[in-house]
Symmetry: C2
Subunit: 209 residues, 2 copies
């Protein structure tokens, strides 16, 4: 029998580069990336089923009532959520699934799927985090301070995660995440089938040889 796939949740404060890290991981590995559902309208260039699953509000609410989201949230009147069935189907097939998500979402996923692998991306340094937020160019000094205070508070949530990876260099961060995935596949509590097969083989040898 084949072992189940992993749900790899990549999360962290904004400005830590988790999107860039995820993109680099997907370029190199055959992971399946979870696509979110939303009730907001598609923007130019966005593709159904790739950028998002675009749903009418009634559809979304009906899926909430059917417990069909690993997590969902309402932001400025629009719903966003992670569809559960497709993710679980891939995992059952032995595929590893990547989910890039903010901290509040990740904590909800953890409630619903605690056997996931929860990875927190830490900013390389605070100076660098500030540069990245500033570079976006949309921030006033006040909003920059608010973002900073929020990042400071958010870093406390790292204690709810299994792993933390400092993103001082995208290639290093990717290598670390690949190691985490490889190691998690070797965790005894994820190797029930392999260990069962090993013992069966031994039993067979004893009885018939």
């Amino acid at each position: 029998m084949k072992e189940k796939g992993l749900l790899i949740v990549i999360s962290g404060p904004s400005g830590t580069g988790k999107g860039t890290v995820c993109k680099a991981i997907l370029d190199k590995n055959d992971f399946w990336i979870s696509v979110s559902a939303t009730t907001r309208s598609p923007r130019v260039g966005e593709i159904e089923g790739k950028s998002y699953y675009f749903l009418a509000k009634e559809e979304f609410v009906s899926k909430i009532n059917n417990d069909d989201f690993l997590e969902y949230a309402e932001v400025y009147g629009n719903f966003y959520g992670t569809p559960k069935s497709k993710v679980l189907e891939m995992i059952e097939q032995g595929r590893d699934v990547i989910l890039e998500i903010d901290i509040q979402g990740a904590l909800k996923v953890k409630d619903n799927y605690p056997e996931g692998v929860f990875i927190f991306i830490l900013p390389p340094s605070m100076v660098e985090l500030k540069n990245r937020i500033t570079k976006r160019g949309t921030e006033t000094p006040e909003s920059l301070m608010t973002r900073f205070k929020s990042a400071y508070k958010e870093i406390n949530y790292v204690s709810k995660y299994n792993y933390a990876v400092v993103n001082d260099n995208v290639d290093d961060a990717v290598r670390k995440i690949e190691s985490i995935v490889s190691a998690e596949r070797c965790r005894v509590d994820r190797m029930k089938e392999t260990i069962f097969d090993c013992k069966e083989g031994l039993m067979h040898e004893q009885l018939y040889d």
Copy 2:
């Protein structure tokens, strides 16, 4: 501040090739390997401090009484043990320490140092395990059956370990163990200093910039 090193315990039934795997890991990585103490006499070619620390029985017993072993056992009238102080000193300095040990020893180490990384080497297949035991040429059919039954019972102890690595290929096994070490360094509960530094940096930015 620097994070502590890891105690990596490599263990498993006899005939799984854990010695070969350990040697291959040490060839490629700057790990410190723990050397056992024993009261048995040195054999030809054995080197004090490299093969073993050779101790008089009184010395060994006095070290037991001083709680200076991570584990020890008496086998056919001779004592064997893992000296604690040197291992802990290396770990404090940030060095990763490898300890190759049988299952009973590993379980005692776990009692004394539960934050270690406990890796169980599984035989590639039962046919292969039997070939390896048979190749040693010293076994009668009866003793072979005894060894097999013992291996079967021993595999049940895998549930006490953190990780299991199937040794179907030494290079693959080494790569998996390297991933485990790399991943363990990213575990949130081992990254207290890094996370503290990250938050300090943020605090500093907020106050003075």
